[in-house]
Each structure stands twice: as C-alpha cells, then as structure tokens.
C-alpha cells in the first residue's frame, strides 16, 4: 500500500509542479534548482526555498514599513530591497513574483506611492500563494520520502 502511495505522491507532486509551471508561477530556473539537488545535498531545494522565505519575509516587512511611513521618501532604499527580492526570486524561479517586482521597481523609480502600495499588495498575495504551494509540495515530498523509506524491497 505504501509503495503505491509513493507513486501517487510523486504523480501528485508532478501535477502540482506542472500546474505551477502552467500558471507561470515558476519557470525553468526552478528545474535547474532541482537538478542541483543530489545525494550530496538531498535537501538542497527545500533549504534554498526556506532561506528564500525567510529573507523574503524580512524584505516584505521592510517594504511595508517603508511604505506605511508617514513622511516616506526613501525610494532608493526601497529600490535596493526590491532588487534583492527580485534577485532571489529569479534565483529560485519564482517567475510571477519576479514580474511583480519589476513593476514594483518601475513604480518606485517614478516615486509612485500608490503604485508601490498596489504592487506590494500583489506581491504579498503572490508570495502567500507561492508559499502555500511550496508548503504543499514539500509536504508531499516529505511524505514521499517517508513512503520510499518504508518501501518493501522489490524483487528484481
């Protein structure tokens, strides 16, 4: 039964990934990332993604703080944050977030506060979505690993 679960989980994972690809949430860069994972670093993807979440949350917090500030004027600092966010997003292949970052940066370059706020909201939304999906994915991965670990020896 467990063996069957492995296959199903794997299929589910692939389906989920396919969905994310299809929606444009992720791009090939994520595949590249997955390829970097091998026996020597079995948790590479999840590790990177966790770092990403950690960093991103910090960045989002900073951005929100900056934007909600009354006498807000430090667009330059905000630009640095956005750049950071964009860099890390493209590294893990979070395509949609990256695209929003581009728009965000454009708005901040024009000192368009309303645009920035809109972009930030979108960003947070996308971020939540991605986080949920990744969470789901890693959960499945975990289950799969567990199932694989409990796998019956297959006669050859």
């Amino acid at each position: 039964m467990l063996g069957f679960g492995v296959e199903r989980l794997r299929a589910d994972m692939n389906r989920l990934l396919a969905l994310l690809f299809h929606q444009g949430v992720l791009d090939e860069q994520f595949l590249q990332l997955q390829q970097l994972q091998d026996e020597t670093s079995p948790n590479f993807v999840s590790e990177v993604v966790n770092i990403y979440f950690h960093e991103s949350e910090k960045l989002l917090r900073n951005l929100r703080g900056l934007l909600l500030d009354r006498e807000f004027s430090d667009y330059k600092k905000m630009g640095i944050h956005i750049n950071q966010f964009m860099g890390s997003s493209s590294s893990i292949g979070a395509k949609r977030i990256r695209n929003i970052c581009v728009a965000f940066r454009a708005a901040s370059e024009q000192n368009n506060r309303a645009g920035c706020l809109r972009a930030l909201e979108l960003l947070e939304h996308e971020y939540c979505y991605l986080k949920n999906k990744f969470h789901e994915l890693f959960q499945m991965e975990q289950q799969r690993l567990l199932a694989a670990g409990a796998r019956y020896p297959v006669q050859n």
Partner: protein, 997 residues
C-alpha cells in the same frame, strides 16, 4: 509589436529616402520630354538635307545633259558647215569651169546641154544643192541682141513675164535639169538674188541669200551665188574692175531643210534633240532657216553653235535643244529618298534607343523600389520567423521541463527509454526550429559555424535515437559505427554536424523499406584504403558463412561496395594496429601534430536509390528525384542542399553513389579542430561521460554471422568498457569460452554476457541450440551461467516467448543499438539497474564543468542569501569547493594575499561596496603584491621561476541584466567575464572554460 512597427516605419522611410536620392537622372532621363521634339527636328533636318542632296545631284545631271547637248550641237554644226563648204567649193569650181570653158574658149565650149549633163553627173558632189544654174550678165543695151541670140525674152522670176526694162539683167542661160524652169528667168528680178548678185560680183566670193522659200519647192532654202569673170582680175581688183569684169553668175539653191534633215539622219541621237538653224545677219530679227520655232520641246536647255558658211556677210547659228524634257532621274530621286529614309531610320533608332534607356532606367528605379520593399519584406519575414519560432519554443520548454520531471520519477527501463526518447525528440524539435531560422540565415549567407567542443559519438547516438522508432517499425537495421581513430571530442559545430547527419539518415529512413542503414564515421583514410581493397581483391569472398551474397550490415546489396566487410575489415585491423602503436607511445600521441582532423561520414542505405537522371540535381534546392517522390514520401527537398552548404562550410565535401533499387551511399567529409587538451586524457579508454561506468571490465561474446554487424555491436559494447570477443557462430562461441588460457584474453573462459543475434539463433533451430547450451554449462561447470542477451531488430511476441523458453530469459535488446540503451538493458540484466544513473539529464557541458571545477576553491560573493545559496549549490554540484561572502568587504578580507581561491563569482549590486568597487580594490591589492614580488625577483637573480606567476584571481560578475554596457563596465573594473544571474550551465561553462583550461 511597437518595435516591429518602428521597423516597418524605418523601412518605409528608407524606401522614400532611396527614392529621392537614388534617382540619379542621366542626361537622357532628364530630357525625356524633349525626345519626340528632337525626333521631329531631326526628320525635318533630314528632309532638308535630302532636298539639298537632290538638288546637287540634279544640277550635276543637268550639267551633264547640257554638256551632251553642246557636244551634239557642235557636232551637227560642224558637219553641216563641212558639207556646206564642200558644196560651196564645188560651186566655186563650177564657176571657174564656166569662166574657163565659156569665156576663155572661143567659141564657147559649153552649151546648155553640156552644162546640164555635167552638172547632173557631178550632182553627187553637191548633195545639198537642189540645182545649179548659170546666169549671164546682160546689160540693157545688149538685151535685144541677147534675146535674139537665145530666142526668148528675159522674164521676171515672180510672174514669168517679160522683164521690164532695167539697167542690167541676169537671165539664166545654163541650168541643171532639176532647175530647168529657171531658164530665161532674170535673176535680177528677184529681190534676194539681185542683192546676192550685186554682193557677189563686188566681193568676188560666194555669197548667200537669207532664207526664203525656194521656187519649185516649199522648202526653205538659201541661194548661193558666185561671180564669173570674163577676164582675169588683177591681184587686188577694185569694185569697178570687178563689176566690169563680171560675165555672169553661177548660183545654186541650198535646200537647207532637206540638207539638215539628211544630215541629222546620219547622226545618232537625232531623235533626242531639236535643231533649229537661223540666219542671224540681222541679230534683232533672226530668220529661221530650219526647224519650227514653236515646236514643243524642252526649252530649259539650248545650245547655240555659230555656223560659218563661208559668207562673211551672213551669220548663221544653230540652236539645239532636247526634244523631250529631261527624264526624271530616278537614281537621284532614289538616292535622296534613301538618304532621307536612312536619316529617318537613324533618328528613329536613336529615339528608340533613348526611349529604351528611359524605360530601362524607369524599370531600374522601379526594381530598386521593389528591392527595397522586398528587403523590408525579408526583414518582416525574419521577424515573423523569429517570433513564431520563439512562440513555439516557449511551450516546447514546458514540454521539455515536464519530460525532465517525468524522467525523475521511478520508471522502468523501457519507460525511461521512451521518456528519454521523447525528451530527445523534443530537444531535436527545438533544434529544428532553430534550423528553420538558420535556413534563412544560410540563404542570406549569414550563417556562422560555432566552434565548441563536442562528442561525435553522442551526437550520432542522438540521431539514432531520433530514428530508432521509425526504423524499428519498418524493420530496417539502423546502426552506427565510429572508428576508434576518431577523437572523442572535437572542436566544431555540433548542431550543424547533427543537422547534416539527421538529414541524411532521415532521407535514408524515408526511402528504405528493407535492409539497413549504416552510418560510419572514420578519419580520412579512405583514399589509401581504396588501393588496399584493390590489392587484396575479394579473397575473403569465398568464406561466405551464411549464404548472403553481400557482406554488408544486413546482407543486402549496397550501392557503394567500399563499405562492405572487405573494406571494413581493413579499417578495423588498421585501427587495432594504430591503437596498439598509440598505446605504446604512452598516450603522448594525443598531442598529435595535426591541428585538424578530417572526419569522413558515410550513410549507407538499401533504399530505392536515386534515378540516374535525377542524380545530378540532388543538391539543388527544392528538387526531388521525382515529382512522385514528394507525393509518396513527403518532404520539401531542401535538406540536401542545406547539408551541402553546411558541409562546404565545414571545409569538406559531400557526394554520393546511388544505384536505383539497390541503395544510396552518401558520404561527406568535415574538418574539425582537435581539442587542445582532452579533459579525459588521463582515462585510458575514454568512456562517454553520460554512460554508466559499471560495466567496465566485463567480458562479452558477440555471436553474429555478419562481421559488419558484429563490429557495430562490439563498438557499442566497447564504449561501455566491455571487453568483446566476436564469434561467427555458436560453436565458436562455445569454443571461445571453453578454451582456457589459449586466447589472448586469458580469462575469457568466463564471459559475463553472451549476445546472440536473432537471425543466427533462428537459423540454428531450437533443439540444436539447447544442446549447445548444455554443453556449455558443463564446460563452465563451476562458473555461473553467463547472461544471455538476444539482439533483434524486431521481434514478435511468439518469438519472444520462444526466446524465453530457449534461455534468453534475461532480455532482448532491440536495435538500433545505442550505448546508453544497451547500458540500460544490461543494467536490468545484470541487476545493477537500481543504481540510478545519476545526473543522466546532465548534458555534456556539465561533465566538462565537473571536470573543470572539480576541486577548485571558489569564492561566491553575494548579499542575497538565496542567490548565494543557489550559486554555491550549483558550483558545489560541479565539484567545486565553495566559500561564501555576503558583502564586498567580506570578500576583500577573504582575498587578502596570499589566498588559495581559484576564482571568484561576484555579484554586482551589493549595498555598501558593490561588485565593481570590490573588484577594483582586489585588483589594486594584487598589482601591488605583484610589483613587490617582481622587485624581489629582480633583486634575487635566479630566483624561483615558479614564483613568477602573477597574482590574478579570475573574477566573474554575476548579473541579472546582461546588457553590453554592464559587460563593458565589468571589464573596465578588472573583471574577467560574467555569468547571467540565474545560473545556466551553458553560460557558466562558457565563462569558466576560459580560465580552467
């Protein structure tokens, strides 16, 4: 879209511009409106000129005519004059006769009878005189005596009546018979005669009257009178003496009309001219002597000739003119007309030429416009192609990614192979899309070959896998053989190479229904090989083992028998020889002096062949052998022409031998660069990096009756590192495994694998085989049974079951053979399949990266934690030893000299100290250190030469935007290159390869 619009605009603008500037009007073009006017003027001018010409020629004609007239007239005048003077002389003679015989003789010797007879008999002498007579001078006092003597009365001429009394009379006493009516007439009574007589006796010479109508005839005539003197005159007699001495007068009438008629009758051309003779003694009133004044004749030309009839008192002239008007001179007219026509033609030709030039120039301008439009269209087409191929590529990437994910799942070997094939095909499709773009590039002559390191063998495997399904379906044997002499890695354009082979093999698969397709790759030795073949002839052809007439891959006849086993064997043996030599040379041979290696590729098939008549246009684009070909087999026919272009660009040539219904063999050569340093030079038997290495050292026996096929199988197994021995039949195989230590491979008694060709096994029959197997079992008692593998092109389920029953329980390897596929099957067979082929999806570049980066210590500088982790992960993946720094300052601290980093990947956008600044600081630091070191070196002569190496750590920028300006800035601040931010292996490889060679 905006960009495209802009492009169109610019194209249109360019078009306008060209229209304006390129209208370099020539003279003719500028004056085009004048052309018809010029033509008209020319025609008028020509008409004028021809008129002038006509006039000139006509004047010449007239002059000639005048000349003719003059000469004719003069001739006539002269003749008339001559004849006249002859007559006059004669009359003169007559006068003397009369004076001699009538007066000097006494009595007179002449009487009328004598005179008449004499004159009649001498009349021929005076053809012009109608008659002559003699008149005696009679004074009035002597009249009666005279009348008495002669017996008649002197009569007047007019009325013939007795003459009235006068001073003197001149009655005619002698007369010629023709004028006998004159007798007794007094000449003095006639006005003209009287005048004549008086003048004659006064002058003593011949005297003529003016013209008048002669008596007896109605002709005009003149009368000639001579005086006759009684006595001899003194030498210069006075008038009175003469009168006194005058005895009489001899006279003759000239019938001028008949005279002239007569005369003219003798002369040629008398019809043409009209002759008039005038007496012009009184110049104001010319008297006509001959001819009619009012005769209708051409009055334009006249000629007057003076006549001298011997009478100084009288003047005569002859006037001649043409009878008819001058005939129209057709020559002149024609000449002038022709001149005119020629002139018109000339003018028209020039006009036509000018119009043509105008037209051509107009066309030229039009063409230029069209050309610009076409170029614009071409640009649009290229853009369209680029867009479309991009749009296709994007979903293809999705497919590709999904297949990659699928490959990661737990799959059976077959599924794995299928998925792998699908992925490869996807890749091939992407390549094809690129090829579509390149096709346009070739047409534009803009194609450039890249020079990268690639593996010919794996490319051939890829191509093979592309067609394996098709060939299997058709039951064709598809095989690849690459000579050991061909280096594993060469420098060239793998994509193009693959494109050519794909095209050729694709064609072969398309046109072959049975038999085989065999791709061979050798280094260029075939030239001396031919000689070898000729030398050895067909000695081997006697030992046909399986009755196949042809020793090719499948036993079918091939078009080019150079590829048959005879040749092939030589190749193989030569290879072994050379490889042994190579081994002896302890691998130093790798740095062979030749920089380039020429690779010969042969694609042999046993298809329908190319009809003889179509063979010379095979390489023409869009030409297929037959119009029915495209109907039956599809295709556009552009492939071969592209292949030809590509081959020529690779410095080789492509040609083929084809026999209809037998097959075709395409072969081409290509020049590749040798890799300067083979990254696997330390591996003795180079293995394909993506092939599992777990089979090395295994021993296998290939049982195959067809040596070529066996060689192919051996080639693939060898690539896996398996030691192979070939047996042509089962018995030999058993013998081979049984003989202990007698073979060169001492331990061959225990083969791990036995690969049997299906054909052979089928032919051997079941029972026989089992016996053999038993025997074998007994021979190899203590050893475990070697794994039995069946090789087959296609196999039915029934046969498969049979196989299983016969002992091939392990597996059937389906052809075409590919090293990776064979490996997969063998993994299954040998039970080592569970060890996942790690990084199978990694491409060649990764392997190189791995080899390049392995063990290298690399510093990654990035403030972004995620990026840092990913970069580090990627580099670690390739075996690098990675250290991280999260700011420029930290990097600077780590790179304090001396350090042991081999390279540094530097992010550009960092807070505090960005990548450029950090790099500049590092370079500054290094240059200072280098300077110091140089100083030390120069001070210590003979210092350690190894220390001369300068400090220069390669710094590669990591940047998300790869615009050129950034790249320039990278170089300016002392970086060595850049990689685009989300790490792509290709980029990474290209950047890294520069430093770690």
């Amino acid at each position: 879209m905006g960009l495209k619009m802009q492009n169109h605009h610019s194209a249109a603008a360019r078009l306008n511009e060209q229209q304006n500037t390129k209208r370099g009007y020539t003279f003719i073009q500028a004056n085009r409106a004048w052309l018809p006017k010029i033509l008209v003027v020319w025609i008028i001018l020509m008409a004028f000129f021809s008129k002038l010409l006509y006039n000139w020629m006509d004047a010449g004609n007239k002059e000639r005519r005048q000349e003719v007239l003059r000469s004719m007239c003069d001739e006539r005048a002269r003749m008339l004059q001559d004849q006249f003077s002859v007559s006059v002389n004669h009359v003169h003679a007559l006068a003397i006769l009369v004076s001699t015989f009538h007066y000097y003789k006494s009595p007179s010797a002449i009487d009328q009878e004598t005179f008449a007879e004499y004159t009649a008999r001498t009349a021929f002498e005076r053809p012009l005189l109608s008659g002559v007579g003699y008149a005696q001078r009679v004074v009035n006092s002597e009249r009666e005596e005279f009348e008495k003597q002669h017996g008649y009365v002197i009569k007047t001429m007019e009325k013939r009546e007795p003459s009235p009394v006068r001073d003197e009379y001149a009655p005619v006493i002698f007369s010629q018979e023709t004028v006998s009516y004159l007798e007794s007439l007094d000449l003095m009574s006639g006005e003209e005669d009287r005048e004549n007589i008086l003048r004659a006796r006064a002058t003593g010479k011949a005297v003529l009257t003016g013209p008048f109508r002669l008596l007896g005839s109605h002709h005009l005539g003149v009368v000639l009178t001579f005086p006759v003197y009684k006595s001899k005159l003194p030498s210069s007699p006075t008038l009175e003496e003469r009168v006194k001495a005058t005895a009489g007068y001899v006279g003759g009438a000239f019938d001028v009309e008949s005279l002239v008629n007569n005369l003219l009758g003798q002369l040629a051309g008398n019809q043409a001219i009209v002759v008039n003779v005038f007496d012009v003694t009184n110049s104001s009133d010319p008297l006509i002597m001959y001819g009619h004044h009012d005769q209708d004749s051409d009055m334009s030309f006249t000629h007057e000739s003076m006549l001298d009839f011997g009478d100084p008192f009288r003047k005569h002239q002859m006037i001649c003119r043409y009878h008819q008007k001058a005939p129209t001179s057709w020559t002149t007219l024609n000449t002038a007309f022709l001149f005119f026509v020629i002139g018109i033609l000339l003018g028209y030709i020039s006009y036509g030429a000018a119009m043509h030039i105008v037209k051509v120039e107009d066309d030229f301008h039009k063409m230029q416009e069209l050309k610009v439009q076409a170029e614009a269209a071409d640009v649009a087409k290229s853009e369209f192609l680029a867009t479309v191929s991009h749009e296709i590529r994007t979903p293809m990437n999705g497919i590709h990614g999904m297949l990659a994910l699928l490959l990661d799942t737990e799959l059976s070997s077959t599924q794995m192979d299928y998925a792998q094939t699908a992925q490869d095909c996807g890749k091939a499709l992407i390549t094809l899309i690129n090829d579509v773009l390149d096709r346009a590039k070739i047409e534009a002559g803009k194609l450039e070959l890249e020079v990268v390191q690639f593996d010919i063998r794996s490319i051939l495997d890829d191509v093979l896998s592309l067609f394996s399904e098709k060939s299997r379906h058709k039951g064709i044997e598809l095989a690849v053989f690459v000579s050991d002499k061909v280096p594993q890695f060469v420098m060239g354009d793998p994509g193009r190479f693959r494109q050519i082979i794909t095209n050729l093999v694709g064609n072969s698969v398309k046109f072959t229904e049975k038999g085989h397709i065999f791709v061979q790759v050798h280094t260029k030795v075939l030239t001396d090989l031919k000689a070898l073949t000729c030398m050895n002839g067909r000695l081997e052809s006697t030992d046909l083992s399986n009755g196949c007439p042809f020793k090719t891959l499948s036993g079918c006849e091939a078009a080019d028998d150079r590829n048959s086993w005879d040749t092939f064997k030589h190749l193989l043996s030569e290879e072994e020889l050379s490889s042994k030599i190579l081994d002896n040379k302890v691998n130093s041979a790798e740095c062979s002096p030749d920089k380039n290696v020429t690779v010969m590729v042969c694609v042999e098939d046993t298809g329908i062949g190319i009809p003889i008549r179509a063979q010379d246009r095979v390489f023409t684009p869009f030409m297929q052998a037959d119009s029915s070909t495209s109907r039956n087999y599809g295709g556009t026919g552009i492939g071969l022409s592209i292949s030809k272009c590509l081959v020529e660009m690779m410095g080789g040539q492509i040609n083929f031998v084809s026999r209809p219904q037998v097959g075709s063999t395409f072969s081409f050569s290509a020049v590749f660069g040798r890799c300067k340093k083979n990254p696997f030079s330390d591996v003795k038997k180079p293995l394909c990096d993506d092939l599992p290495t777990g089979f090395r050292g295994l021993k296998a026996i290939v049982v195959d009756g067809k040596p070529v096929r066996a060689a192919v199988t051996r080639y693939h197994l060898k690539r896996l590192g398996i030691i192979v021995e070939v047996a042509s039949n089962i018995k030999m195989a058993v013998a081979l495994s049984g003989k202990n230590g007698s073979t060169s491979h001492a331990d061959f008694s225990q083969p791990d694998l036995v690969l049997v060709e299906k054909d052979l096994w089928i032919s051997v029959e079941n029972g026989g085989w089992n016996i053999q197997q038993l025997e074998w079992k007994r021979n190899g008692q203590t050893f475990k049974l070697p794994k039995m593998v069946l090789l087959a092109t296609n196999i039915s389920t029934a046969e498969f079951d049979e196989c299983k029953a016969a002992g091939f329980a392990d597996t059937v390897v389906m052809k075409p053979l590919r090293a990776s596929m064979v490996a997969a099957c063998l993994q299954q067979v040998l039970g080592m399949g569970k060890k996942r082929r790690q990084g199978k999806e990694m491409q060649n570049g990764n392997a190189f990266l791995h080899s390049l980066l392995y063990g290298k210590k690399i510093l990654v500088v990035d403030d972004n934690k995620v990026n840092r982790r990913v970069a580090a992960g990627a580099l670690k993946k390739f075996g690098a030893n990675v250290e991280c720094a999260e700011s420029g300052k930290a990097a600077l601290a780590l790179l304090q000299l001396p350090h042991n980093f081999d390279a540094c990947f530097m992010d550009i956008q960092m807070p505090e100290m960005d990548g450029f600044e950090a790099t500049r600081s590092i370079r500054l630091m290094e240059s200072e250190a280098n300077k110091r070191m140089n100083e030390e070196n120069s001070s210590v002569i003979g210092g350690n030469p190894h220390n001369k190496g300068q400090w220069h750590v390669p710094i590669l920028a990591m940047t998300a935007d790869v615009i050129h300006a950034t790249y320039d800035e990278c170089l300016k601040s002392g970086m060595d290159g850049y990689v685009s931010k989300p790490f792509e292996e290709k980029n990474l490889y290209q950047a890294v390869a520069k430093f770690f060679k």
